[in-house]
Amino acid sequence: MTPLLEVRGLTIRFGGLVAVCEVDLALNPSEVLCIIGPNGAGKSTLFNMISGIYRPSAGTVHLDGRDITGWPAHRIAAAGIARTFQSSRLFNDLTLIDNVVIGMHSRTKSGVLDALLRPGKARAELEAAAEKAGELIRAISPDLHARRNTLAGALPQADRRRLEIARALASDARVIMLDEPSSGMDDRDTDALMADVRRVMAERPGLSFLIIEHDMRLVAALPDRVAVIDYGRKIAEGDFADVRLMPRVQEAYLGQKAAEHA
């Protein structure tokens, strides 16, 4: 089976600093892969390269067999990779509905001339998008749906993350990358998050998730596989139950001395 997303030898240098070094990853259709590692290990940098915000110094990214290395971020988004951000980046001065409708940007078409000369058509397209956005928000959380016409800037942290996921789903992406989705969430929110990911995957066959996460409860329960990154290199990959026992992984998290005692 060809992987849906394949990362080979991905490397980025900032001046003399090698932030990510020759990382290989493969994400299969309908799979959840968690990326773990200490702070500053290069996990978010890896996401930024895959989503086109940074241009890799070396290595390749393939989506469904197509080489998307070095594409601009908006084309990568249109090709089917959606993402959320560690410090959730919503459009704060727009309503929840608007936020999710913007997520459908690459699935809608109207340009300036359509808007000016065929307003009916442009409006109908946007109304349809708004309706779909409402459904997406309702599926994620009825509470959010009730607040769909309020501004995103007023949402509490957990809801911001939920809305970001709804926005990522809106693009009909094939791969969704979540950067620390559970940060700022309590246990109940995290459970709801996991339930959301499972439900969404059941509804959309083939959709895969790449998740950066620190909450070990989530890492133990949700993903099919786990990859560990430390100092920009992938040091382990496999089942979480196995990976957590590897000495190198314990070293990375606890330091060498502590790992010896563990």
């Binding site: 908006h74 084309r75 951000f85 300036v112 307003p119 309706e131």
Partner: protein
């Protein structure tokens, strides 16, 4: 927020559809009368009293958000009536101006500035692109049409679209280098562009240099020259009335464009890159393209205003299109309310007329304009009419 919504719906329930009509008619007629008295009075005491009245109205709106919501709801439900009444008021307004050429002139200039402010609003308001070159696009439009009319005898109606296309091309040209910069640096690039255009107009021979272009012929429509007064129903309107109606039509067109773009995928994309350009890119928005589009649309509308201005005053010089003009337009957008069509128009009217009406203070005029603007911004920190959220699913 929820409280406001409840209060509003309670209000809506309390008074029926006829109340809506009364509110719409009251607000529109009231504004028209306010503007009329402001335009025609030259006594300082009256002007100050009117400004105080306006300040009071805005303070009331700020303190009682439900009031504002109620008015907005009434206009929303009675859109057709509001538009029709507004059009009628604009149509018959000249008949109440007592033939005052000065009042006409102020109105025409205000309307042209309203168009310029609406043009800039696509950038500054929708997409947060600080473009200080709207005055340059205005000038390019004016010069293009004036040169075509003077050198080739092209009719006004043909120069309109040509000037718009030329200015749009320049807009894209400016947009291109601007894409490599953002925020303050982007502002600097546009300032440079504005100054370059001004200097070129000043130094080329074929633009008439600092003397500008003189004797731009008045437009004609169905054999009626715009230099002649309008005579209708036994009334006689001064020749400026021609340009009054022309500018009003252009304002109408600009409002339609602004509404349509705002309520479209393009407007949303602009708003997205205003809020967070990086997140916008990750939603599939081609940030470079949409910024360029904003430059293009801004230049397109500004050129229309420039063309009408050139034919109206029949004499243009580089000094009509300085950097200061761009700054004034930007102030209009900020004072009126970013990304709010009505607010931007009011901002343009307010800031065009205020300096004229405060002439009594002669040398200190601009100081007082500044004070009044600051006072209004204290009353309404987000501009006179702040941005409003979009509505979905409420159109038939």
């Amino acid at each position: 927020m929820a409280d406001t919504a409840q209060a509003t719906s309670a209000l809506v329930r309390r008074n029926g559809p006829s109340a809506d009509l009364a509110i719409v008619a009251g607000v529109e007629l009231g504004s028209a009368i306010l503007l009329w008295s402001f335009l025609l009075s030259d006594r300082t005491a009256v002007i100050v009293a009117l400004l105080a009245l306006m300040g009071g109205i805005f303070a009331a709106l700020q303190l009682r958000p439900a009031l504002e919501e109620r008015i907005v709801a009434a206009f929303h439900d009675r859109k057709r009536f509001a538009t029709l009444l507004g059009a009628v008021i604009v149509l018959i307004y000249p008949f109440f101006l007592q033939g005052s050429g000065y009042a006409f002139h102020l109105l025409i200039v205000s309307m042209l500035y309203a168009v310029l402010a609406l043009a800039l609003n696509f950038q500054l308001g929708s997409a947060n692109i600080p473009n200080f070159a709207t005055g340059a696009s205005y000038g390019i439009g004016a010069y293009t049409s004036a040169l075509l009319a003077l050198n080739f005898g092209v009719s006004f109606w043909l120069t309109l679209p040509v000037a718009a296309v030329v200015a749009t091309a320049f807009g894209f040209l400016l947009g291109f280098p601007s894409m490599r910069t953002k925020e303050s640096y982007l502002a600097l690039v546009t300032i440079a562009f504005g100054i370059v255009v001004h200097q070129l107009l000043n130094n080329f021979d074929w633009t008439g240099g600092p003397n500008g272009l003189v004797g731009i012929p008045a437009p004609e429509l169905f054999g009626h020259s715009f230099a002649r007064p309008i005579e209708a129903f036994g009334f006689r309107l001064p020749s400026q009335a021609n340009f009054y109606y022309l500018s009003a039509a252009l304002v109408g067109l600009s409002i339609v464009c602004a509404k349509r773009l705002h309520e479209s995928r393009v407007g949303l994309a602009w708003n997205a890159l205003r809020a967070d350009p990086l997140a916008a890119r990750c939603q599939g928005i081609d940030v470079v393209w949409f910024k360029m589009l904003a430059f293009g649309v801004d230049a397109f509308l500004a050129a229309f205003a420039g063309t009408i201005y050139a034919f109206y005053v029949s004499y243009i010089s580089p000094d009509n299109f300085t950097f200061l003009v761009s700054v004034t337009i930007m102030t209009m957008v900020i004072v009126g309310g970013m990304d709010n069509t009505l607010g931007v128009i009011i901002g343009a009217f307010f800031l065009t007329m205020l300096p004229e009406k405060l002439r009594i203070f002669s040398d200190y005029r601009l100081l007082f304009v500044g004070v009044v603007v600051i006072l209004f911004l204290i009353l309404r920190p987000q501009g006179l009419f702040p941005q409003r959220a979009r509505n979905y699913g409420e159109h038939r």
